[in-house]
Structures are given as structure tokens and as C-alpha cells.
């Protein structure tokens, strides 16, 4: 995905301190890191598994490391980054809880964004049709989806509470990354994408 299609980056940017060190898990083509580098002099690495994305990162001067997040992150030292970011990939990992723990081991703070399986359209799809939801933001059939761990905002917040993770900021938006008062009232029903800024 190119930078233009990712307005979530604009939400994340204010959470990142200038001149800080960032690790971006599943960094795609490096759009976020390039933006943070250009606007805030942020340094760091992206981790990515797709070859074309890695080639694209390198060409734009974004440092990227070919690494499967599911194979662990033990090559990164404790508290060696200011922020660890993961946008729209947590639901694709085999052990999302472990990843979140790892993010806060490696970074002082973390930013996580993910699609909300509790959105009313998803609930309605499953509830009325009795089939796994397929939509614009979840465009895959059940047998081919990379999204192997579906969860809702509430699920995530329960996990944070259980693990003693502090939620510093939460933004809830639709898939065009617009927020409105209805979403703020009923985030778990009306929000499509959540952006969480967390720490210990």
C-alpha cells in the first residue's frame, strides 16, 4: 500500500517524538518510516517479509530487515527503541499477545493499529448470513485470508488490562480514517480501524 492510502499515518505521527528511534513491524513499502524520517528525523528499521516491499524500502532509503515476525524478535534488545509500531498486521500473526508483549519489551512505547472485527457490518454479516464476513476492509475468503486472529477493540483492551498494559491514547476511525461522534459513542460497533498508543 502506498503512503497516500494510509491516512492512519497522520494519526500516528504526533505520537512519535522527533529524533527518536522507531521499529516498524510489517513496514510494507516503508511509507510510514520515510514520512517519520522526513518530518521528524526519526531513525530505525522496518521489518518486512515481502521481497518487493523490501526492495522498495531500500530504494527509498528506508532501512528494512527481512524477518518473519512469527519467528520471534529476540534479535532486538530490551528497551532498544523509543517506539515499536505495528500497523494493520497484528491480526496476521500467530501469537498477537506475544507480539504485543515483545513490542513493549523492545520499545518504551508502542503503537498498534488493527481492523475491528466487532464493527456492526461484520457482526451483521456473520449474524444474518451465517458466513465469515467479506468486505472492502476484509476482502478475503475464510480459506485464503492472511488475517488469522480476528478480534475487536474490546478484546484488545481486555488483553491490555490483563497484561498490565497502559492505553495512553485510542483513536477510532472508519476505513477512510475519518472519525465522528457516533464512533466515539459506540467505538466497538461503529469503528472500523483502531489506533492504540500503549506503554507499560
Amino acid at each position: 500500500m502506498s503512503q497516500i492510502e494510509r491516512p492512519d499515518f497522520d494519526f500516528i505521527e504526533p505520537w512519535i517524538e522527533p529524533n527518536s528511534r522507531v521499529l516498524d513491524l510489517g513496514c510494507g513499502d516503508g511509507g510510514l518510516l520515510a514520512m517519520l524520517r522526513d518530518n521528524k528525523n526519526v531513525r530505525g528499521y522496518g521489518l518486512e517479509i515481502d521481497t518487493d516491499n523490501i526492495v522498495e524500502c531500500v530504494a527509498r532509503g528506508v532501512d528494512v530487515i527481512h524477518q518473519d515476525l512469527d519467528a520471534g524478535l529476540d534479535n532486538f534488545d530490551d528497551q532498544s527503541f523509543d517506539t515499536v509500531i505495528m500497523t494493520q498486521s497484528l491480526q496476521q500473526t500467530t501469537a498477537p499477545d506475544r507480539i504485543v508483549e515483545e513490542m513493549l519489551r523492545i520499545g518504551r512505547q508502542a503503537v498498534v493499529t488493527f481492523p475491528n472485527f466487532g464493527h456492526w457490518t461484520t457482526r451483521a454479516y456473520l449474524g444474518f448470513r451465517g458466513r465469515m464476513p467479506v468486505s472492502e476492509s476484509l476482502p478475503y475468503a475464510w480459506y485464503e485470508t492472511p488475517n488469522i486472529h480476528f478480534f475487536t477493540f474490546r478484546d484488545f483492551e481486555v488483553l491490555c488490562r490483563e497484561r498490565g498494559i497502559k492505553i495512553r491514547t485510542r483513536a477510532v476511525v472508519d476505513r477512510n480514517h475519518q472519525a465522528n461522534w457516533k464512533m466515539r459513542m459506540l467505538p466497538n460497533l461503529l469503528g472500523e480501524i483502531a489506533l492504540y498508543h500503549i506503554s507499560r
Binding site: I54, V58, A59, D63, V64, H66, N75, D77
Partner: protein, 383 residues
């Protein structure tokens, strides 16, 4: 034998020679009083002298990396697939320097040359070179060419070790470092293969303790065996299956100990061809340089601390089917660079050609390398 030089070739090139009188102190404690380096250049050095790239060669490499020496050449330089106009290392944009390392047998001072102290060929008495000695000699060549800072130093395998050594010894003299299919040091298995290769050479009756020149002979069979063994380790199991399978040379088994299978014929050809064109003492020396390489050794084995001196951006690349220097070995380098908080990118490229993959113009690899170099040149010189 190209009747027509391909459009993406650097064309006809001529090696040049640089003489050095200043003694070169070596890691072994010895020194070379004077020496010469043979090198080639491709492309044009720009007015700012900011577009120069150094190519470091591997075990059996030399200065002739691209283009042709004559229209009768059967094959171009060893890395022609990646060096040329529009190629991964684009000679329309960059000034590429490729040299033969000291101890080599392609024109730079080495075992086949006359030792000025004894008046006879050095042979086995040529000082065993360490990677850092080569790098020092390369830095002197850079001085000679008026290149204060390389845009990048690039190498595969043993060449990658030189590139890494550059970043430690001359951090301010390079903006990028591409370490391809390499390792921070050899494993026991790597050293074991090298030792078998050396034994093959030194146990050849024609070796004469390395003074075979005086007997007008050379340990051809030993060198051939060494190369055959090496060659197997440069390919992958699946690559060999793909290329040769169990194809028979003449369609039937001979029930003799002569060549039955294509793979045997191929290895013999490679070995014979190599032993016609390479010096056994150089081969021994190069394998020792590999065995001894361990830059972290000066830092209690802490590679991160060792690399903390570097100031350049790194590109580390490995190949999935490389079992001589596996991706895990490249990841050791990456891990150390991350711990040292250095700019590094890493990609393991899916490829079937084993360790030799780095010589091939694999599309993702070409894009990766060219993208890395382009990003270095657009970044502007670091402050």
C-alpha cells in the same frame, strides 16, 4: 567470442597497473616492501569524485569483473551480469573500480612473482595476506585514483568480508557497504572444506612444498580436486539436481570408473579449466585469508562493538539455497549492526544457485542493489 559486444556491456576494457614503493605492513607481522596492483575501471568518475564504487573479489576472483579484454574472449568478466550500462551496478552512473588482490595470480603481486630478496619466485614464502591487509592496499589504490570516499564498497563471499573490513578500518571513506552472501567469520565446517582443499593441493606429488615453479610443473591434480570440492559447495543440492539430475554423458552406464554422469563430466571440466588458469599457492593463500577472518576477534568476539566504528549504510544480502554461507550467517551481521544502532537493510533472496547465486542477475537482487546505490547517491554526502 562476441562478434558484437552486447549493448549492456562495458565493452572492451584494459587492465591498468599501479606500483607502490611504500612498504605495506601486514597482519602476519611481515611486510611487503613494494608491490603492484592490477585493476580495471568502468564508467566515469564525476567531477565531485562522489560516484566511485569498489568491487572486492572472492576466493578465485580477480580484477576483470566486467567487459571483454578482446573480441576473441569467450566470456566476459566474472561479474558482468551485474556491472554495465543499465545493470545493477550501472556504469552510466558510477565509476567502478575492480582490482586483483595481493597474493593473487592475475597480475597483482603474488606467489608467482620474483621475491626481490631472494631473486626467485615467492611461491609458498609469499606472506599470507589477511583481509585487513587487502583493504589497506585497496585504500592506497583509492588514494592513487584520487578517491577520498567510495559511494559504496561491494563484495560477495570473501569480497563481502573485505567490504565489512572497510567499514571498520576506514569508516569515513565510504557511504555504503554491500555485504553479499558473506559471514562474520568462517564456521568449523567452512574451515574443514578449506582444509580438504589445501590437503588436496599440498599432497599432490607435483607440489614440491610450493616451489613447483622451479620444477617446471604445478600441482594440477590437487588444484583440480580442490576446485571440484569447492564447486560442489558453491552450488545447491536442488540446483545440481535441476542442472544435471542423473543424466548420463553417453546414454549408458560404462561399468568402469570413467565418467558416467553429466555431473562428473561438468566437475572435471571445471576443475581442469581452473587448474590451467589459477596458481595453487594463491589458492592456498586465499583459503587462509578466509579462515583467519574474524574482525570481532579484536573486540572479545563482540561483532556489534567491532562494527560500532562504522559510519556507512549497510546492505546485507543472502540467498536461500546458499549452504556455504547460509542466510543465518548474514543475519549474525545484521543482528550486530542493529545492536550497534547502525543503518542496515537485509534481504534473503529466494534463489536456487546456492552460494554462486550472488553472481547471477536475479531480478529482485538487481533491483535491490541498484536501489541501494541510487539511494546512497541521492542522500547527499553525510555531514
Amino acid at each position: 567470442m562476441p562478434t558484437e559486444i552486447p549493448a549492456d556491456s562495458v565493452g572492451l576494457v584494459e587492465p591498468q597497473t599501479a606500483f607502490f614503493d611504500e612498504p605495506l605492513p601486514l597482519r602476519s607481522g611481515r611486510s611487503l616492501a613494494s608491490y603492484q596492483l592490477v585493476y580495471e575501471t568502468y564508467g566515469t568518475l564525476n567531477a565531485e569524485r562522489s560516484n566511485a564504487i569498489l568491487i572486492c573479489h572472492a576466493l578465485s576472483g580477480h580484477h576483470h569483473a566486467a567487459g571483454f579484454h578482446s573480441r576473441d574472449d569467450r566470456k566476459p568478466g566474472w561479474w558482468d551480469a551485474c556491472i554495465g550500462p543499465g545493470k545493477a551496478i550501472d556504469t552510466n552512473r558510477y565509476f567502478v573500480v575492480s582490482l586483483n588482490n595481493l597474493g593473487g595470480c592475475h597480475g597483482s603481486t603474488g606467489p608467482t612473482d620474483i621475491d626481490p630478496e631472494t631473486g626467485r619466485r615467492y611461491g609458498p614464502d609469499f606472506p599470507i595476506m589477511a583481509v585487513r591487509d587487502w583493504v589497506k592496499s585497496q585504500a592506497r589504490l583509492a588514494d592513487r585514483l584520487g578517491i577520498q570516499q567510495w559511494l559504496a564498497v561491494i563484495g560477495g563471499s570473501l569480497g563481502g568480508m573485505q567490504a565489512m573490513r572497510w567499514s571498520i578500518d576506514y569508516p569515513e571513506r565510504m557511504r555504503g557497504c554491500a555485504v553479499i552472501a558473506s559471514a562474520p567469520k568462517l564456521s568449523a565446517q567452512n574451515i574443514a572444506f578449506n582444509e580438504v582443499a589445501r590437503q588436496a593441493i599440498t599432497s599432490d606429488p607435483d607440489f614440491h612444498d610450493g616451489h613447483y615453479y622451479q620444477h617446471d610443473t604445478s600441482p594440477r591434480r590437487g588444484l583440480m580436486l580442490a576446485r571440484m570440492l569447492g564447486h560442489i559447495t558453491y552450488l545447491s543440492e536442488s540446483g545440481m539436481r535441476e542442472k544435471f539430475g542423473r543424466e548420463l554423458r553417453q546414454g549408458k552406464l560404462h561399468f568402469s570408473y570413467d565418467v558416467d554422469f553429466e555431473v562428473e563430466s561438468y566437475l572435471r571440466y571445471q576443475g581442469e579449466n581452473f587448474s590451467d588458469n589459477f596458481d595453487a599457492n594463491t589458492y592456498l593463500l586465499m583459503t587462509k585469508a578466509l579462515d583467519y577472518y574474524d574482525p570481532a576477534g579484536d573486540h572479545d568476539g563482540d561483532l556489534a562493538r567491532c562494527l560500532s566504528q562504522s559510519q556507512c549504510r549497510f546492505l546485507v544480502t543472502s540467498f536461500s539455497s546458499d549452504w556455504r554461507f547460509t542466510p543465518a550467517r548474514s543475519e549474525e551481521i545484521v543482528r550486530a549492526l542493529v545492536r550497534a544502532k547502525k543503518p542496515v537493510s537485509y534481504l534473503e533472496i529466494e534463489a536456487d544457485q546456492g552460494h554462486d547465486s550472488f553472481l547471477f542477475p536475479i531480478p529482485e537482487y538487481v533491483k535491490l542493489l541498484s536501489g541501494f546505490l541510487a539511494s546512497l547517491s541521492t542522500e547527499g554526502a553525510p555531514a
